[in-house]
């Protein structure tokens, strides 16, 4: 029996399993392309067209356009590829943490400090 057979939700966490990987394949492929500078430039010049090129759903496209990180995760985005999207936007992992948790950047940083107490 796989540890993935237990479908009980883990609070605040989307397990990036086969189902999510299938759902988000095109989205993650788009984000993976951001390893290349010319891809980042192409995205920046026309975001919607770039999403169409990769076959994103309308929901995924809107989440990209709106920088909705939770929305992207829910639609199959993997944080490792989304990190490349975040980098393109000039955001680091603490900015992303704040966005996802609804905290200010300072509040999120304090949360990390508190976790280490």
């Amino acid at each position: 029996m796989s540890y993935l057979d237990d479908k009980t939700p883990i609070k605040g966490t989307i397990m990036f399993d086969g189902e999510m990987a299938s759902l988000g394949y095109n989205l993650n492929k788009l984000c993976y392309s951001f390893n290349q500078e010319d891809a980042r430039d192409a995205f920046n010049s026309n975001e919607r067209a770039y999403c169409e090129k990769y076959g994103l759903t309308e929901g995924q496209t809107l989440a990209i356009l709106e920088r909705n990180i939770i929305g992207l995760l829910e639609q199959g985005g993997s944080i490792y590829y989304l990190a490349k999207f975040a980098g393109l936007l000039g955001l680091n992992m603490q900015d992303i943490g704040a966005l996802q948790t609804g905290l200010t950047l300072e509040e999120f940083k304090q949360k990390l400090v508190d976790a280490g107490e």
Partner: protein, 280 residues
């Protein structure tokens, strides 16, 4: 015969690479973290290992989801780092040891570890940040040759803690059967507790990290009881990088002694552990 002289556990957080690039090592935020490394530099200087086996995970540089191995191993003359998309500087090429790589691959497959063998392998921060931490300001990394071992930590299903430990065991046995007199160090990189994604982002579990660091020295088998769902709940979605430390520890077949450790929290979004073990 080749001999594994010890092992090093270390974080591989990209922010560390950024801090190195900006020379922030002595600033209040970073000092405690970087202070964990001089004892390791001294040991590396004294011991001068010939080869480092480095367990790391590829965060979407070399491997995409189209073809993503559970276990992969480098068998290249050289390993190159590339742009990861968010501004981390690349580092000079790292030399490999093809002959030892092939020996390990032969033995692993014989031992029923059917690894993906990579004759070209672009390496990301999972490997490059530890190289910068172990051999700072040295474009030749102390002359060391490297064999990268990649474990899937990005997409479930992922191998269990026991399986990664057993992979390390198998690599350890392969090395100890190698004909050449070489000194080998094993690196486990990544972790410890952290979660980057979702409303649960920012999870760090210091108590669990410290327990894992203790068990890794004295009784690593006691960690096998945690499956990766447990690890995700207790140590965050990226806490599964503990698997690289399991591989590292598995490779140590002799009497293991901890001669240095450090734990700094938070570093970026992470509980950052550092550990130096000898193997006799």
């Amino acid at each position: 015969m080749a001999k594994i002289i010890g092992a090093i556990g270390s974080s591989h957080i990209p922010a560390v690479g950024m801090a190195i690039a900006k020379k922030l090592q002595n600033t209040p935020y970073w000092k405690d973290f970087f202070d964990g490394y001089p004892p390791i530099w001294n040991w590396l200087n004294e011991q001068k290992p010939d080869v480092a086996i480095i367990f790391y995970n590829d965060h979407g540089l070399e491997f995409f989801l189209d073809k993503k191995p559970t276990f992969a191993i480098g068998a290249a003359k050289q390993y190159i780092s590339y742009d990861e998309g968010w501004g981390l500087a690349t580092i000079p090429p790292i030399n490999g040891d093809e002959a030892l790589s092939w020996h390990i691959c032969n033995e692993l497959v014989e031992d029923e570890f059917d690894i993906t063998i990579c004759q070209e392998l672009g390496v990301d921060h999972g490997l490059t940040v530890p190289m910068q931490l172990m051999w700072p300001n040295d474009d030749n990394y102390g002359g060391i040759r490297v064999i990268p071992v990649v474990i899937n930590c990005e997409r479930h299903p992922m191998p269990s803690l026991k399986r990664c430990f057993d992979l390390g065991r198998s690599i350890g046995k392969a090395i100890e059967s190698y004909h050449q007199d070489l000194k080998i160090v094993v690196l486990g990189t990544g972790g410890l507790s952290h979660q980057l994604d979702g409303q649960g982002a920012g999870l760090i579990n210091k108590e669990f990290d410290l327990m894992c660091m203790e068990k890794l020295v004295s009784a690593p088998e006691e960690l096998f009881k945690y499956n990766l769902r447990d690890i995700t709940e207790i140590a965050g979605a990226q806490g599964v990088e503990l698997n690289m430390w399991m591989g590292m520890r598995g490779a140590l077949l002799g009497d293991v002694t901890e001669i240095h450790s450090n734990y700094t929290v938070p570093i970026s979004n992470t509980g950052a552990g550092t550990m130096l073990l000898t193997n006799e």
